[in-house]
Symmetry: C2
Subunit: 528 residues, 2 copies
């Protein structure tokens, strides 16, 4: 009896291995990449300070999705939170044909209830560097985020050369819970959580526990291995592609590698006409690929740093280590980490935005004219709150766009509630990439500025900043049937209402899967 | 135009006032009591320590439901939490004919999603003192609770006299969030949150902020009016009915009023053969009415106190003030509050349990025999955790009971995971009251103990304690069609699985309202 059972097991194993081999051999064809994820609360100490975070399969950031262009991704997401629903957005994936898998709670789906398993299924139709994150309440900030790396089809090469690649997610980190932050934002008067305590690089930071009155009571411990810095080991002479994404809740960042210039080659999954820089400005929701050559003195290590820009920093520099093999990875760089560029110098940030153009050999030219222009004034005033703004308007924020029409959006920045202060807002569009037609300072002038649009080689992106007191113009084709969010990617701004919804061609979507329905207006339309 | 509008308004107001008068005049008939509640997160300082709590209409405890026997209660509950669902249980209300309004998430309804409004509608068919509280995750402990007071029909008198009445809810209070506590409970190895920081009386306590290393940083402030003690003002010579309920998460309590004996007259909505005592032992989920006469020196005030029993106390005494008019209510009693009875002396607690019998003139005699006996061994071992217990069994915990059959349950206490330690477990039955047939010490012996059951004048209750190393026997008629939870009312014990479900007569329930469905097994059966 035992023997038969063991025989069965052996046969099963053989079948299993045969399947593995089958999958391994069929790399030419588009594959289905199947992930099983479980979302839970766990205590973690990403920056040495222990707090409750939301993890995927035990980690924050969650697992990296590695796929090849054309693959189908299936994520079976089990919600093991106690009483809290979830939804996950696949940031930069256009969801062509699967708008219900966009993961935007309240826009494309009902949230996933505790105990339920929801299946996200979508095709990654373009190679590039993408992200995923919670898109419900402020769950991204609670730890629910990660990377999606899509490689080119076999036999197709990138238009640049490198020996190896790594991915890096930048983030900022608060010690208070997202519930606390959101409750403050909803209070009248408004209570602000304050600046982030740490900047994380690949989920790791280092808070100075001695700032706490009683670190042991607060469970802050700098010897906790969870808060050791991220280490990127390089071999001297080799060139590395670093895929860098930012999912900060609040902070605009500058990223730099001590002693190394690097070349920007990709932005939001589109090739960039390469340019060399010593720092990368990156805004929440953006991704870039940079090429960095390990061409410095290999007998020491170097700091990789992230710094807050665009807002008076109250957060120390985020640190990681570029480790030159065979120098020991624990050897601290002999230098003091740089503090990065001046936080309030907008000029180099605008200059870098302007420098990002489509790679000459892969330009997708935009339509030369648009059918409609939407101007969105980026104020930071509450309409129903204490600080009233007579210029602000209130609506349901839903724009119905003619299918296949060309739409321009002009993001116009303004003052915040404080005098002489204007902040950076990174706007992210779901379901589409857009052409970035131009940036300017001051008030957008339709008679002068439209004529200066870059229609020759604009980069396509899904996230773009509008700089302090400036404007940003973008164009997109409303060619993806569905209902799509367009919003400031700063978590608290989006929470406060800084976003709209574009609807186009919903009649082409067909029957929605019942799994996305059963709440709000769809309550009662839930069919088996 | 304006005049016409104003006329319309006047007419509307008149109609409104006529309706009010109509309602006021029709007190003889059963009424519909309509409540609109909104559940939100808010910062509160119930015991001086500020933390995020869950409020109903801005308060914790929430509004008291005041009704008359036979009334229909309608609570329109709006969930304004961020990402968290809710469900509210009407504790002690049998929900005859409305089992779907019992508010037990996962048993009688799907949870109420953020943004949704759910309508609870049920009849309060018996006069008495009842409770309500969150019944999803650990939301009760987060602040979601309150009182239901049901008065007798007009013309019917209580079998005891009093001049006035007040209600008091006792609770214990943790500074950590329920998420943190639950995450600890789910961890392997198990992490315990520790003893409660405070005992609350009507939502008010007083934590010693100086125990914190940095009270200002922790937002702990003893001058905050929110943490002033509850004050019960009495007029000398008058008799007061105090309706006392306990909704502690963990603690068994003793309640006493300095210098005053009192008479116990009601338990869980049933009249008690009156007995005089100087302290009331009360377990989570129980309610009592006591009569107290203001017959002491009226030139001073007196402490009302609650103390932890049955578990080594790590929580200071809960304090409120009995204020004799016209002594100023702010005048502190001249005495040091008593520390209450010995925490580890089970004998007087068992004696009080045995003293609680049905009032002679209102005995509902139980069936003399039962059709089925269920023995539930109260261990505190995890089956899947690190501490394994070979005696524990695992099942779905669902008991199908023949409709209208008589069921006995014997709750048998045992050791906890610690040696020489046994705790008190208050068990609460939904949808029914049961007769309390007996309490004993040691191991229940079916051949000897059944014969000693009190079938003459057992009290009916919905919640009953099983004392350390003892047993408790109860009997009920499975005469209420539905699916009903029966569980230990200690929040963390229930969370860890200390509960079962009784199903009986579900074929008589008929069509469920679609509003309770749409999750778990009912997903896809949600019809408009």
């Amino acid at each position: 009896m035992v023997d038969i059972l063991e025989l069965h097991r052996t046969v099963k194993l053989l079948v299993f291995w045969s399947l593995i081999c089958l999958v391994a051999l069929s790399t030419v064809e588009a594959r289905i990449r199947h992930y099983k994820w479980e979302v839970k609360y766990e205590y973690k100490s990403p920056d040495c300070f222990q707090k409750l975070v939301t993890t995927i399969n035990g980690g924050t950031p969650g697992p990296t999705i590695l796929a090849q262009q054309g693959d189908t991704i299936v994520v079976e997401l089990k919600n093991s939170l106690l009483t809290e629903n979830i939804a996950i957005h696949w940031h930069g994936i256009r969801q062509i044909g699967t708008p219900w898998s966009d993961g935007t709670e309240g826009v494309t789906q009902c949230p996933i209830l505790p105990g339920d398993t929801f299946k996200y299924k979508f095709i990654v139709d373009r190679a590039g560097t993408f992200l995923y994150h919670g898109h419900y309440g402020m769950q991204r900030e609670a730890g629910l985020y990660g990377s999606i790396i899509v490689s080119l089809p076999d036999g197709v090469s990138e238009p640049f050369a490198y020996d190896n690649e790594r991915s890096i997610i930048l983030n900022d980190w608060f010690h208070k819970s997202t519930y606390e932050e959101a409750t403050g934002l909803s209070s009248i008067p408004f209570v602000w959580v304050g600046e982030p305590q740490s900047l994380l690089i690949n989920g790791r930071g280092r808070y100075n526990c001695s700032l706490l009155s009683n670190p042991s009571l607060e469970a802050c411990n700098v010897t906790n291995p969870e808060c050791s810095p991220y280490i990127l080991t390089v071999i001297p002479g080799k060139t590395y592609r670093l895929r860098i994404g930012s999912l900060t809740s609040l902070s605009a960042l500058s990223f730099q590698i001590e002693g190394h210039n690097f070349t920007v080659v990709e932005a939001d999954g589109h090739y960039v006409e390469p340019f060399v820089t010593k720092n990368l400005y990156i805004y929440s929701g953006e991704t870039y690929s940079i090429l960095v050559k390990a061409n410095q003195n290999p007998s020491r290590n170097y700091w990789m740093t992230s710094n807050v820009v665009g807002r008076k920093p109250g957060t120390p520099t985020g640190l990681a280590i570029l480790n030159y093999y065979p120098t020991h990875f624990r050897k601290s760089p002999p230098t003091v980490p740089t503090t990065g560029p001046l936080w309030n110098d907008t000029a180099p940030r605008l200059a870098q935005s302007l420098a990002i153009k489509a790679l000459q050999s892969s330009i997708h030219t935009p339509p030369l004219t648009s059918d409609k222009t939407i101007v969105l004034l980026n104020t930071q005033n509450k309409i129903d709150g204490v600080a009233k703004n007579v210029n602000a308007t209130s609506s349901n924020g839903l724009y119905r766009l003619k299918f296949n029409s060309t739409v321009d959006v002009v993001l116009q920045n303004a003052n915040t509630m404080s005098v002489n202060n204007s902040e950076t807002h990174p706007w992210h569009l779901h379901g589409h990439d857009f052409w970035v037609l131009g940036y300017g300072t001051g008030k957008f002038d339709v008679t002068k500025d439209v004529g200066k649009y870059n229609l020759a080689n604009p980069i396509m992106k899904n996230t773009v900043p509008v700089h302090p007191y400036g404007w940003t113009a973008l164009r997109f084709r409303a060619d993806n049937p569905g209902v799509w969010a367009f919003h400031c990617h700063i978590e608290s701004h989006f929470y406060m209402g800084m976003g709209v919804v574009f609807e186009s061609g919903v009649e082409k979507v067909g029957m929605l899967p019942s799994s996305v329905m059963g709440c709000g207006e769809t309550k009662g339309f839930h069919r088996p």
